[in-house]
């Protein structure tokens, strides 16, 4: 067990050094969320004031947090794919380590990064005058929900890292997943105002559940039933991904 901790810590330390020395990669994922919050938030502020009877940016922020968490998590496997492409991973596999330490170390690094990015977006929201109705504890709850969404998506990304053969494919999948799925959720408009087919996708999209609970925390405060519903939905999603990912990754890392 202590060996596993030592190996996993070594992996995590490596990724944290990357995070510190290539902050631009982190800034890259924040590009879409920041643009949407500033410009889309600004553009729709007036239009939405009447129909939503409130601050559109505050309404938008949960969707932005979900996009941040989703985008960072789905991209999180890419460094492992690079490791696979350039032979680093093969060398790692010749060391007497548990294969899981590679996955757990990367998993932890991705989610620490997600948390930092969500905090940055919350800070940006604060600059725009958004106040979290649920208070300081609400900030913590927002982060936890972001992570619960990120966990399952991270597993998908780790699977992609091992089943895809080049990073071009990976970038393509990332490009067609994060932003479209954000639109196919309640991120920008109330779900009832979506056309039926979009509503159907939104209904099975884990982002919708994350956003519903985050929105209640930002706009109205603590709402036990929404939080419980979201927690169940995201835990089911995470559980399914862990089960599915475990099966696939075990085969690919044997």
């Amino acid at each position: 067990m202590s060996e596993f901790v030592q190996e996993t810590k070594a992996q995590l330390v490596r990724w944290m050094i990357h995070l510190r020395r290539e902050p631009f990669n982190m800034a890259f994922n924040l590009l879409n969320p920041v643009i949407l919050l500033i410009f889309m938030g600004g553009a729709f502020q007036g239009l939405a004031r009447d129909s939503l009877r409130g601050d559109y940016r505050a309404y938008l922020l949960p969707g932005i947090l979900a996009l941040t968490a989703f985008g960072n998590s789905i991209a999180g496997g890419i460094p492992l794919l690079f490791d696979k492409e350039n032979g680093f991973l093969v060398r790692l596999m010749s060391a007497p380590i548990s294969r899981n330490s590679i996955l757990v170390g990367r998993f932890l690094a991705i989610n620490i990064n997600t948390m930092l990015q969500c905090l940055i977006m919350l800070g940006l929201g604060l600059i725009f005058g958004i106040r979290i109705a649920a208070g300081f504890g609400g900030v913590l709850a927002l982060l936890i929900i972001g992570l619960l969404l990120g966990f399952g998506v991270t597993v998908i990304s780790l699977i992609l890292a091992f089943i895809l053969h080049n990073h071009g494919d990976f970038f393509a999948i990332m490009g067609i997943s994060a932003l479209p799925l954000t639109f196919l959720s309640s991120a920008f408009v109330p779900i009832d105002s979506l056309p039926l087919w979009m509503r159907l996708v939104a209904w099975v999209n884990p982002m919708t559940y994350a956003i519903d609970a985050m929105r209640s925390l930002v706009l109205t405060g603590w709402d036990g039933s929404v939080l419980a519903q979201t927690a169940i939905a995201l835990l089911v999603f995470d559980g399914a991904m862990f089960w599915f990912g475990g099966r696939i990754l075990r085969r690919h890392l044997a």
Binding site: E3, Q6, V13, H18, R21, F88, V90, S94, P96, I97
Partner: protein
């Protein structure tokens, strides 16, 4: 061999329709520098990947450092070092961060770690460069770092796959001297290379592998003398396009001579294996003169490992192969 660190029996591996290893057997004695030689694609890297537990064999028994690679891979991994052919340094990490990383992967306790890092940095001549990031290191220095990472846990057996591929001459010499120092310290070195001079300089024993089979094995000196041949190298004068044709005509003519035991084309040169230079030279000159093929240079030598290699993997005639293998 009672003292064998590696024992391979009848190892086979196929990738789809391609046979990478077609029943190889070999033994490596403790403390030796063992060289696996062969042209690209001969199966060297596949063999190393199987011994380092990265690829599963289809058939055969492979024992490394006393453990079976299939049933006890974790034990094998803890007893070996492996430096792959391609550079595997992480551009964002410093020299020291690399070594700490590998120290943790090999479970070195914290108190031992720093002194061990100093030790391997000293061995590969990287002392004083601890805080430099890998991305700013030259190719040769990166390779030294790669080697250092493979030595951090003081493995009794280390696999080096083409350790001097693409390196400057002086860095190559450095790498050779580290390899010899490892041997002095009692480490067994398994070396894959297609540089003959490297094998001749370093290896106690070599095996030449071709098309997934061991063509010949033994000490370099023994292999050379086994050839029992002198080598005559001929280069033809004249324009490029004519030269190839002329070389082939000459080769055909020479093969008919009783004193010629075999021929191998090596680039623009034709190598002719004969029992004795003294008798063969006049006859060869006569043939070329009667075919009016102008000769630019003609040299003769005792065979080196180069010749052994060409003999077993090159274009030696089928008859030759049957006689010698």
């Amino acid at each position: 061999m009672a003292n064998a660190v590696i024992r391979i029996e009848n190892l086979r591996k196929k990738y789809g329709p391609i046979t990478a290893l077609d029943g190889i057997s070999l033994e490596v004695e403790r403390g030796q520098i063992f060289g696996l030689l062969g042209p690209n694609g001969a199966g060297k890297t596949t063999a190393v990947k199987i011994m380092t537990t990265l690829v599963r064999p289809d058939e055969g028994k492979v024992e490394v450092a006393g453990a079976d690679v299939q049933t006890d891979p974790v034990r094998v991994r803890s007893l070996i070092g492996y430096v792959p052919q391609e550079l595997t340094v992480d551009p964002y990490l410093t020299v020291q961060e690399h070594l700490r990383y590998y120290a943790d992967l090999y479970h070195l306790p914290a108190p031992v770690r720093e002194s061990r890092i100093r030790e391997v940095l000293g061995l590969v001549g990287l002392a004083g460069q601890e805080s430099r990031r890998a991305k700013y290191l030259s190719g040769g220095t990166k390779k030294k770092l790669d080697l250092a990472c493979g030595l951090i846990h003081r493995p009794p057996l280390i696999f080096l796959d083409e350790p001097s591929l693409g390196l400057d001459v002086h860095v190559r010499r450095d790498v050779w001297s580290y390899i010899l120092r490892l041997k002095e310290q009692g480490t067994t070195v398994f070396l894959c290379t297609n540089y003959m001079d490297e094998a001749e300089q370093l290896c106690d024993v070599v095996s030449i592998i071709d098309h997934g089979k061991i063509a010949v094995a033994g000490a370099p000196a023994a292999l050379r003398s086994q050839l029992k041949k002198d080598v005559i190298s001929i280069e033809i004068a004249g324009a490029n396009e004519h030269r190839r044709e002329a070389l082939e005509t000459l080769e055909k003519a020479l093969c008919r001579l009783a004193i010629v035991q075999g021929t191998v084309k090596d680039g623009a040169q034709l190598k002719i294996y004969v029992e004795s230079n003294e008798i063969a030279l006049p006859q060869i000159l006569q043939s070329s003169a009667s075919l009016s093929i102008p000769i630019r240079t003609i040299t003769y030598s005792r065979p080196g490992l180069d010749e052994v290699f060409l003999h077993y993997t090159g274009r030696a005639s089928a008859e030759e192969r049957e006689k010698d293998v």
